[in-house]
Amino acid sequence: MNLNLSFNDNVLSVILLSLEISTTAIIIGILIGIPIGALLALTRFPGKRWIVALVYTCMGLPPVLIGVIIYLMLSRYGPLGSLEWLFSPQAMMMAQSILVTPIILGLTMSAVQAKEKLYTEALKSLGATPWQAAWTIIKEARKGIFAGLGTAFGRAISEVGAVMLVGGNIEGHTRVMTTAIILETRMGNYPTALTIGFVLLAISFILNSFLVMGIIGNLREERNYW
């Protein structure tokens, strides 16, 4: 089986679209998730427990459920039907943003919380203002936050149910790696399906290497601290 044979321009555009959609979703997730996550970690207010519980629940939202809800909202007869976003890359970005934002938010929150316990007292005794203290803690938590971003990206790019529903797997328009794998398998083009699968695996591997390095780095740092 010659895998190079099936690696043509079409496959390349599918890979690029996958990366584009998931990266956009991650950026949206960063803009929303990191500030709110840090805020939740650093502040105390009544009812916070409930919000935290809600965030953790949303971290495990089934992607296909997100897909159905977005589909119904963007459908011609739905509340956002006038946008005409159904079966477009925008719809897929929307679905993936909803998928990754709680993950980034939740993991930022736990990373910042872990550092907060370590540093707050020391920072206070050194005379830092609350803003300076918050900024330092967030900076210290960056490895945990990056690990969260890696996890979120892995979830987004390997997700298939939601993007199939709201994107529609249209050739040259909304076909991404995961939906292409399903189609190629259904058509019996196993080599192409496998090629795309390997690319997906490679991307996931690279991301997870960063993730693992981050975790190891974190552990080492804590050991030094003690």
Partner: protein, 290 residues
């Protein structure tokens, strides 16, 4: 060394015993249940065969209606793998199925010619419909043939949703484009790469035209704003074929399944299927040896 081979031997013995125990009662039961041809199947392994077929036969409910009757008559269990025609044929080529029931005549003929299939029969046919939005922006309702209709759609650049998945329906659609001499391309021609149900929904959402098999369209009718804009062109007939995979090791059971579909009785069952629900049969029987 001796001990190891003793253990391995006893392991196999145990496995054999387990398999023997679990399959034997089933065979007895089947023999009791059925009055006649259960004895025709040669051994118990032969009692389970795989039928690779297209999603349309499963989605329309035809197989859920036919297969249990066959299983009851013969005691042979049928595992149905419902996929796109392209994959069904591939599964047959790889020897992962015993019988194929598909609808893409050119691919079927190639399958037999290449020596992968034998005993091919026509089984039945249904119709394809050209469906579109009620407003009919391309004016397809004014013409009588599929060729004229597709030409109008491409001239007006009205949205057309193609299955784009090498399924039987997609193969049929491509053959009509070829007959008109148009190579559909551009913004208006959308290759969905999905099943018939999802493609119909997409056509509904986008206000486009699409080619659909009768059974899937009828079963989705209440949920869609689409209308039939063209039917009755002989070009839109959708013949299904059944054939045996040459490499099958369960030739007897495979023959029985094929004969069940093409014999008088099976043909009668096919003609009656769907009458109560849709007022007319979803498939027209047309058994003929090729």
């Amino acid at each position: 060394m001796k001990r190891i081979s003793f253990y391995i031997f006893s392991l196999f013995l145990l496995l054999g015993l387990l398999i023997g125990c679990s399959s034997a009662p089933k065979a007895d039961k089947a023999a009791q249940d059925t009055s006649k041809p259960a004895a025709q199947a040669t051994d118990s392994k032969d009692k389970e065969i795989t039928l690779a077929t297209t999603t349309s036969t499963q989605d329309s409910g035809l197989l859920d209606y036919m297969v249990p009757i066959f299983e009851k008559q013969t005691g042979i269990k049928v595992k149905v793998v419902a996929v796109g025609t392209g994959q069904a044929i591939k599964i047959g080529q790889d020897g992962n199925a015993d019988v194929l029931l598909v609808h893409a005549r050119s691919q079927e003929d190639k399958f037999v010619q290449d020596g992968y299939g034998v005993d091919a029969y026509d089984v039945m046919y249904n119709q394809f419909y050209l469906v579109g939005p009620e407003k009919d922006p391309a004016g397809v309702k004014n013409v009588k043939t599929a060729a004229e209709a597709l030409k109008l759609i491409s001239d007006k650049k009205s949205t057309f949703i193609s299955r784009g998945d090498e399924s039987g329906t997609h193969t049929k659609e491509k053959s009509i484009w070829k007959a008109v001499g148009i190579n559909p391309e551009g913004e208006w021609y959308v290759k969905a790469g999905q099943g018939m149900g999802a493609t119909l929904q997409m056509a509904d959402e986008k206000g486009g035209y699409t080619l659909t098999d009768e059974a899937t369209f009828l079963s989705h009718k209440g949920k869609l704003g689409l209308q039939v804009v063209l039917q009755g062109d002989p070009l839109l007939f959708n013949p299904y074929g059944i054939m045996k995979v040459k490499s099958t090791k369960k030739s007897d059971s495979a023959d029985q399944l094929i004969h069940f579909f093409v014999d008088e009785n099976g043909q009668k069952l096919i003609s009656e299927f769907g009458k109560d629900k849709y007022g007319k049969g979803l498939f027209v029987p047309s058994a003929k040896k090729r």
